[in-house]
Symmetry: C2
Subunit: 351 residues, 2 copies
């Protein structure tokens, strides 16, 4: 492995100045949780928001719909395995899938910086078209704003999505139960490391590509097979650790993870060591955890492994009722380590 070691970690210690927005407020960790609680929930608090799920499930005109949104500000715009366009489609498709919905329609809102090369925009639009086709969704409405040079950063994209919920299951943290098996849909950490390597000009023997992919077909197959899915969560900002901690806290249950069962590619592990990251906290864009009853775990594993993007699915833990809201990791040397949300920022602008 070769690596240009001359890079700076954009990883400031959490500031004590709570009067201003920090990069870490967007990082998926403890500070983002505080921002959501103290500003957004305090302002808008309603039962739908309080579910703290990837999207809202709504009854509209007799239909049961999922509705979600995400803005994408990733830098660089293009990276191994994807770009801001693939991310913007797959991210929102996956949030809908995490609600147990079949994603149908997406909106796209662009904030362009004056002076952006039109060719760059065309490439992103083409990526979004191809990603929408792969996921089986349609981009049906959009908007474009342009801001002065120096007041944006090339392209920001927002997508919102609508899906239809065809299952009778209530999928979310509150449905997790003691005894549930925790499955992860493949190796973790690739997206964040792909971005970071590109940003810092690192070179490894192999190119680490983002895992960015739509997972809606995999989820659809689980539901179609009658798997009693309790909870789904994609492992974006904050990675596997943050997703599992949030679920444990919301459900008021504990989760035990087995480190040796969590798939991490050797090159990703090596890059994490060089960069000082813990793969548990590194963002993914095509990975999710599924909480299913013990009785369904074996069948769910087979279904997920049957998809190219789920071939690396593994069983990594179990839900327990010993303690509330705690996540423990049994390390490879047999020690139990408590897993918490990050208090600062690990990888700014990875999505």
């Amino acid at each position: 492995m070769t690596a240009d070691m001359e890079f700076t970690l954009t990883c400031p210690a959490p500031s004590r100045d709570h009067s201003r927005v920090l990069l870490a407020h967007g990082g998926g960790g403890r500070l983002m949780g505080q921002l959501i609680s103290s500003v957004f929930m305090a302002g808008y608090g309603n039962p739908l928001l309080e579910n703290r799920h990837d999207g809202a499930v709504l009854d509209v005109g007799g239909a049961r719909l999922a509705f979600t949104t995400d803005s994408y500000v990733v830098q660089p715009l293009f990276f191994p395995g994807g770009d801001i366009g693939t991310l913007a489609v797959n991210g929102t498709v996956n949030d809908l899938a995490m609600c147990g919905a079949r994603p149908l329609y997406l909106s796209a809102g662009f904030i362009l910086e004056e002076g952006l090369e039109m060719e760059t925009l065309r490439r992103v639009v083409e990526s979004m078209r191809a990603a929408a086709e792969a996921a089986g969704v349609e981009l049906v409405t959009g908007d474009t704003k342009v801001v002065d040079h120096g007041k944006g950063d090339g392209i920001f994209v927002n997508t919102a999505g609508i899906g239809v919920v065809e299952t009778d299951l209530t999928i979310g943290p509150m449905s997790a139960r003691p005894g549930d098996a925790v499955l992860v849909s493949g190796d973790i950490g690739r997206h964040g490391i792909a971005i970071m390597a590109q940003r810092e000009g690192l070179e490894f023997e192999t190119t680490i590509e983002s895992d960015c992919a739509p997972v809606n077909h995999m989820v659809g197959d689980l539901l179609a097979a009658g798997i009693e899915v309790h909870c789904l969560r994609d492992l974006t900002r904050g990675g596997l650790a943050s997703a599992v901690v949030e679920i444990a806290e919301t459900a008021g249950l504990s989760i035990r993870l087995d480190e040796s069962a969590i798939p991490v590619r050797e090159d990703v592990r090596g890059a994490c060591e060089i960069l000082g990251f813990d793969p548990l906290y590194v963002a993914n864009e095509g990975r999710f955890v599924a909480f299913v009853p013990e009785a369904d775990a074996g069948r769910a594993l087979v279904i997920m492994r049957g998809h190219a993007d789920g071939a690396g699915t593994n069983r990594i833990g179990i839900v327990t009722d010993v303690g509330a809201g705690q996540v423990t990791l049994r390390t490879q040397i047999g020690v139990d380590r408590i897993i918490d949300l990050l208090s600062g920022e690990q990888l700014p602008r990875i999505c």
Copy 2:
């Protein structure tokens, strides 16, 4: 009227460099139309997008829904009569109303600049809460991203919205018919001038406040009364002129407007003269045009004038089949003037 004349119009001549994004690509005029045609429609083209309406109308799980999105990048964030938060809620509520839908649910995606004062964010969140309450919609899902200082501009907000279409009418440019009366819901030009005056530090004897308001209740009353609404369009970027030209071009019909019937407040007219703007092209955020059959025009006027935000409703023109896609304005001195889309940018970042 007093006015500080030392300001610069950010109004460059349209550049001939088509390889880069210009501010005018976001301005609601000819260049924005070209961007939409050549990049977005070419990339995503589907029948829903080709309607070129304020939102998409979709069949989802047996329900007829409208779905729309807009990003908001207005500067300054706070202005007389509103702020980026009221704009973000009302703008999307109004786009849904323009589809003939009853707005129900909104998403909110924030892109915050590192260093933003938390108090500023709180004020915007509170504005959005109050605006949602006034419009009768719920904010149900959201997202926050933070970008480095100098890579954003305080706050950008994206909202997407879902509404339910309960009318059997197909409301849009393609439903406009020769003989239709064109109604405007009140005086025009206030939003753009309020922003411009604030931005440039102009002072007038009276404060010109933005007309920013939700129009869904007014539209709901038109539909509930059985008015055969053919087309609705809110008069945002590009103003009344651009909205009417787009409708005429899409419908392949002509529209005759009567300048003396178009309401413009005296202070707005004066400010436009000083600033060198034509009120016909200045953005509004609580005004729309309604195309209704002659037989329903009188009743529609009464219903719209019955709302505080529609008290100034006036009949301003008629649809004809003489020529295709042309808009003419009979001026106050009796001359016919052809109205077209602006080719450049008039007021950047007014929404």
